[in-house]
């Protein structure tokens, strides 16, 4: 595997971060430790040309200055994140001159990454349709504006003219559609309603003829619909496993707003993305995500039948799901912890519950609370003489 290593130094809360990306890479750590900054820099390094091109197309000018560019790209208030004499970036082992990069006149190039931002719920307006790029303020993060615009354009395609957006027979594996119906949509369908030139997404329940507009969706459904359509963007209804030139999928806070059952479905979809040959990098605050990484590592080391992975998701064994499971076992997964005190990253990929380092044994703090709960209860039970 190529040396896909990103090093950031003295950028915002990051003092020194080094992440070597695997097929699947998970970034964990408390809020505001730099995980999103690192993911957004990863995207910038992969897709500077298309990013500059989109900004220019919408008349946004950063006067070839780093600070102005960062305010447009990362969002308002990020001026000063980059310290001219201290901050540095190295990608694939070579230093990157950010001043030179933002002075570049590049505006083209095939996109190598697809970024699903944490604030994806903002991509939908309260009327239940995707907001165009220009609908946002200039200081809103580029990743949100771009995501929203991509989905808006996709919904102007035949997909948006179809009545049922979910389920669609040619979109997603049938096993994934079944999981989505079971755990997220239940008896509802996702449909487009057209009234003259205007469109909106509705959740419909065919048997009761119920039609729910966006404002009546559950918080989980509001979060999931933009995510689902992002997956549609990535998984075209053709025999091609991937979309165009895209190789990297970057997902911020995969679990945002989702019930644990919905997170399970998303993790199965992540395995599908890996099977399709995408490299997936995500940030997360969910122990479920690390459960999967831990399971893959241990099952691989035990040399088990790949079908065991399907048991994790309660998915039937079919030729297609077995292939997906086999691929998952062959992939390299890496986990990095962002230390809020030191401003550094630590490779905790082994996720060994018996590790001497608390950050690895406690999975970067994600299982720390549960550990303390178990500890306090065990002590109380032992001291009370109860249940004896």
């Amino acid at each position: 595997m190529a040396n896909e290593t990103l090093r950031l130094k003295d950028i915002g809360p990051i003092r020194e971060a080094e992440v070597r990306f695997g097929d699947l890479t998970v970034l964990v750590g408390p809020q505001a430790t730099g995980k999103s900054i690192l993911l957004q820099f990863l995207r910038l390094l992969l897709d500077a040309g298309p990013i500059f091109g989109t900004l220019r197309k919408h008349g946004l000018n950063w006067r070839r200055e780093v600070d102005s560019f960062l305010e447009l790209y990362l969002g308002e208030g990020t001026r000063g994140l980059w310290q001219r004499d201290q901050s540095s970036i190295a990608w694939r082992g070579s230093p990157v001159d950010l001043d030179e990069l933002v002075r570049s006149k590049r505006s083209r190039g095939k996109e190598k990454s697809f970024f699903i931002p944490a604030q994806r719920v903002l991509a939908l307006s309260r009327d239940g349709w995707f907001r165009p790029f220009a609908d946002y303020r200039a200081g809103d993060p580029f990743t949100v504006r771009d995501y929203s615009e991509k989905l808006r354009v996709m919904m102007e395609s035949p997909l948006g003219r179809a009545e049922a957006v979910f389920p669609q027979p040619k979109r997603l594996k049938s096993e994934i559609r079944e999981l989505l119906s079971r755990h997220i949509f239940r008896d509802f369908h996702l449909e487009v309603e057209k009234a003259g030139p205007q469109k909106r997404l509705l959740l419909t329940e065919p048997r009761q003829a119920a039609k729910l507009p966006f404002m009546l969706w559950s918080a989980g459904q509001r979060e999931f619909v933009p995510l689902l359509l992002g997956l549609y963007w990535l998984l075209p209804p053709t025999k091609a496993p991937r979309r165009g030139s895209v190789q990297w999928v970057i997902i911020e806070e995969l679990e945002a707003g989702l019930h644990p059952k919905a997170i399970e479905v998303m993790l199965f979809i992540v395995l599908d993305l890996l099977w399709r040959g995408y490299r997936v990098s995500l940030s997360s605050h969910s122990a479920h995500v690390l459960d999967l990484v831990w399971a893959l590592r241990n099952l691989r080391e035990c040399g088990v039948d790949p079908g065991k992975i399907l048991g994790i998701f309660d998915v039937k064994s079919t030729p297609s799901t077995v292939k997906l499971a086999e691929t998952a076992l062959s992939k390299e997964a890496r986990v990095y912890y962002f230390d809020p005190d030191a401003g550094t990253t630590h490779d905790i990929s082994k996720l060994d519950p018996a590790a001497k380092e608390a950050m690895e044994a406690g999975w970067g703090g994600l299982t720390e609370f549960s550990g303390r709960v178990a500890e306090i209860v065990a002590e109380a039970v032992a001291a009370s003489g109860g249940r004896e």
């Binding site: 018996a354 550990g371 709960v373 178990a374 065990a378 002590e379 249940r387």
Partner: protein, 153 residues
């Protein structure tokens, strides 16, 4: 009551009191950390005290006395793998045996403040927050992987 009194007032363990960590097998002793050894008020090896001929049940490994306010506290330690969820049942069976034994044949140790610890060896097959861990906690059992820091008691 002191730890020593508790051990010596129990017929099966009467002659098995050892100073410090003397009752702990060497391979297990290196898993125990204690920087204030003066707090150690002794140890007992139950497997030695209750050999298989006398007890056919799965026995608990060790009792360790720790000086605590106002008297001694007793830390019951079982050194056992945690490489499969089946190990949870094994250790809980041992815990059940220990509590029954204390209620019947060893009432003296029962009177001391006590903690029960599963000190896991080797690879750990479940993480904190898993249902197995909660099952263990609900029985009053603390789980430690690799090493046990006696200073924390």
């Amino acid at each position: 009551m002191s730890f020593r009194d508790a051990v010596e007032n129990t017929p099966a363990t009467r002659s098995h009191f050892r100073e410090g960590l003397g009752a702990i097998r060497r391979r297990d002793r290196r898993r125990l950390r204690c920087s204030h050894t003066r707090r150690l008020s002794g140890s007992v090896n139950l497997e030695r005290a209750l050999p298989p001929g006398e007890c056919n049940e799965p026995r608990w490994d060790y009792g360790i006395g720790i000086a605590s306010s106002p008297g001694d506290a007793l830390i019951w330690v079982e050194v056992h793998p945690a490489s499969s969820t089946g190990n949870v049942d094994e250790v809980l069976r041992k815990l059940g045996w220990l509590k029954t034994w204390m209620r019947g044949d060893a009432p003296a140790p029962w009177q001391l403040p006590r903690r029960f610890v599963w000190l896991a060896t080797g690879r750990v097959a479940f993480r904190s927050g898993s249902p197995h861990m909660y099952r263990v906690a609900q029985k009053g059992l603390l789980f430690r992987a690799g090493h046990l820091d006696l200073d924390r008691f």
